[in-house]
Symmetry: C2
Subunit: 481 residues, 2 copies
């Protein structure tokens, strides 16, 4: 699980003075990932991929409980499919990669690598759906997608990334919209309890919605620099793709009707969110539910003390049986070297076991999320560590929530907005609803509307933060990744 080499360990940039370089350093030096040979691509190294596997397992369980089945659709989509939904093609055409040749032979029909699969799945749904008995239909796929980006960063924005995309079909608009909202709640619960990530959820503006959707709902998380990371979206698609791909069903009343659809996705971006919301000057800090290594045992002086070596092995077995993902680091290196190694990698719990500990019948336990260091009787390790992991998840959530809450600033003017943004905050603002104001804010401050606020009750009392006209929405503005 651990990296093979620690030649550059701990030479990470200062999180407070160079957050951007800190991020890249953490990604590369904790061996989460590496750059691929093609510009804009990345390699998921075992430590990074294991986080994704854990996220997948947790998400998949929740999707299945929601009545969703997994399927897999081809990656290659006829270029013509993309053209059928007007907004969809406008949104995605500039960034799709196109396959024109096989070997030396030119293809008769140009194919694109899926940037998302509404079109090809819509095409299949039109074949499969005949009557109201076939509805609802709820499928998901775990897949790679390709969107060519000019500026890329590991996990946050890469030409190819891994995600899941759910595509659901209903007889009525109410059910489809409800599904988009329910899945937003599923994502939020996952973010809170599995990633220890507080999120803001709500509807997005017309400007920020998915190309082809009637409405997009977003989940936004605040990073430690006060910027927002869009961490998941769900879309109510209405009849847009049903009309483009002729997806109809025979209803109980004997007439043929278009279906209503929703789609929803989360991606390997979530790993970026974990890094930037929880990381610190020492590197990664991983939430226990997704940490590939939840606890590391570091024997002190085991080379000269067989009893320490033996007890360390025993502890490892005991913890494995208790369901803890544990590593015993018995490499021929100093304890200090090992502490740094595993701190950089964000392992939630470190267990030190030396001769003195052994005599006292206890181990020394250090939390990665907190400077606390305490002893635990050896006999109760199997019971205490799983409980501790649960506490760490809760504490990480609490800390991130406190940070988020203290960095949301109500703003009543553009000046206040600028000041709030420059101070690393989200802006809680009132807005007239016009695209012009969003464009102006973008141009002036490089900030965008994120999601509408959960409480819209006071909107009628307010003016737009930008143009001063009557406000129509209470909405968050922020700089975003």
């Amino acid at each position: 699980m651990a990296g093979n080499s620690d030649r550059f360990v701990n030479q990470i940039a200062d999180i407070n003075t160079d957050y951007t370089k800190w991020y890249t350093d953490v990604c590369l030096k904790s061996e989460l990932c590496d750059y691929g040979p093609v510009k804009g691509t990345m390699v998921f190294r075992p430590y990074g991929y294991a986080i994704w596997e854990n996220i997948q397992a947790e998400a998949d369980k929740r999707f299945k409980a929601h009545g969703v089945s997994n399927a897999y659709f081809p990656m290659l989509i006829p270029q013509a499919f993309l053209m059928r939904e007007a907004e969809h093609v406008e949104g995605f055409a500039p960034e799709v990669a196109t396959v024109t040749h096989v070997g030396e032979t030119e293809l008769a029909e140009k194919l694109v690598l899926r940037p998302t699969s509404e079109t090809i799945i819509g095409n299949m749904y039109s074949k499969w759906i005949g009557s109201y008995r076939d509805l609802p239909l709820k499928l998901n796929q775990w897949a790679n997608v390709v969107r060519w980006e000019k500026t890329t960063r590991p996990f946050l924005r890469t030409s190819e990334f891994l995600w899941q995309e759910g595509h659901t079909v209903f007889a009525t608009p109410e059910e489809a919209n409800a599904d988009a909202l329910e899945m937003l709640e599923v994502y939020k619960e996952l973010a809170n309890n599995v990633l220890a990530l507080p999120v803001l959820t709500g509807v997005k503006s017309e400007k920020e919605k998915f190309a082809g959707a009637v409405a997009t709902y977003g989940m936004e998380a605040m990073m430690k620099d006060g910027k927002s990371l869009q961490s998941g979206t769900t879309h109510y698609l209405g009849e847009n793709f049903a009309k483009a791909f002729d997806i109809k069903f025979l209803d109980k009343d004997g007439t043929h009707k278009y279906v209503y659809q929703a789609s929803w996705g989360i991606s390997t971006r979530l790993i970026g969110a974990i890094i930037m919301a929880h990381g610190d000057e020492r590197g990664l800090c991983l939430p226990p539910p997704v940490a590939p290594v939840q606890a590391v045992i570091i024997p002190i002086g085991a080379a000269k003390n067989a009893a320490v070596a033996e007890k360390s092995n025993e502890l490892k077995s005991v913890l494995e049986k208790a369901g803890v993902r544990v590593v015993l680091d018995s490499r021929d290196q100093s304890p200090g070297f090992k502490f740094n190694h595993w701190e950089l990698r964000g392992v939630p719990v470190r267990i030190e076991l030396g001769a003195r500990d052994l005599e006292a019948g206890a181990v020394t336990v250090c939390r990665r999320d907190d400077p606390q260091k305490f002893t635990v009787p050896i006999d109760s390790v199997a019971e205490k560590i799983p409980t501790l992991l649960g506490e760490i998840t809760k504490n990480m959530y609490r800390k991130a929530e406190e940070f988020t809450k203290s960095h949301i600033v109500p703003v009543n003017s553009l000046d206040e907005m600028e000041k709030a943004l420059d101070g690393g905050n989200f802006c809680d603002a009132y807005w007239c609803g016009d695209r012009e104001c969003e464009d102006k804010i973008k141009q002036l401050y490089s900030a965008s509307s994120r999601v509408c606020h959960g409480d819209q009750s006071e909107v009628h009392r307010h003016k737009c933060v930008c143009c001063g006209k009557q406000a129509k929405k209470r909405i968050y503005f922020a700089r975003a990744y």
Copy 2:
């Protein structure tokens, strides 16, 4: 889990008179898959994808026990990478799909969609591997690959397919070759115990080996028409890719040396093997370890009998708790309709529960692999069904093994070979080792060498089945998918 519509249920071709159409009918009508819009592509429908998920889980567990970690490498490979290993490019160039454009912009460098990842992984390994301490390195990825094929069939040969590819690196040739052989054993054990599939394993001929390997080991399974399906391969790559990608390590003796590598893969082809090795005139017959539905409960007359409906629900919970993947089919359809529906889908166990059964305190149980029908006391269902599922797996293996053994024919001449092949058999033959004879047999009978026989002790006593020269190998010839 079940399909939404049974309009065409059970209209499958006769397995004895039209095996090809039978296969396609079973694939489509049991809703395992469908054709994609681009020629040669396929869609994995939920029932087919769930089989793959079960195979993945079983395989992944075994890989991890073998010390392998998962990772993920980019799908897009610079075209120039493919050129670096002479045999590799010759083997794959004609069937690689090439990306030339993004949006309207032509790319400076042509990119290919991975047909396999030795090249891009080799490129990364040359960055990551520095010293003997970094070895062995054992990574695997679960991914989609693209190989453009002229003639395609669902699961067996499609332009895009899903697989896993393991890529391992060692300091010595012995270790790398041993890894290829060990993984062949892992695959064999998986085939036998999870897919109930007997297989022949051994080294492949030079003609049949992987483009770029020093040696390829294959796992071949006999289908019910006597043709062979290559179901997994492992390769000893020697220094071929190490030299092409400059993968060197500093050895203990202070000198830089090339590494030795192995690679190995199984794919969604295995689903094709399951269909064709176990299926019968009624459709699919799924081995319990990978069956998405292991048992189906069919209440008889539940609409008029609340006690039957209630007990059926209770049985479902009981079986779920016992770890059985179970479906309760309470649709408003006749029992006969439901029997056909689940038989076509190959569900291993059917549990019928009617008023009379309830009075007798028992259920009626039918096995899909065997005409047996018997009663089981309701109270012991949770205990009996898991045991029965184990027995079914063993029985399916036994039946397939018997079939395979009885369809391997020793042949001493080309005439005997032709007769054996036309009779739906594998040929157990002696061969001089020359490519010319393989080419001739291919041309005459459309058969190819599959893998060498496990027992080579009598080779010196025999002549080549084709040219009559001194034999060098005992090898299986067969027609193959």
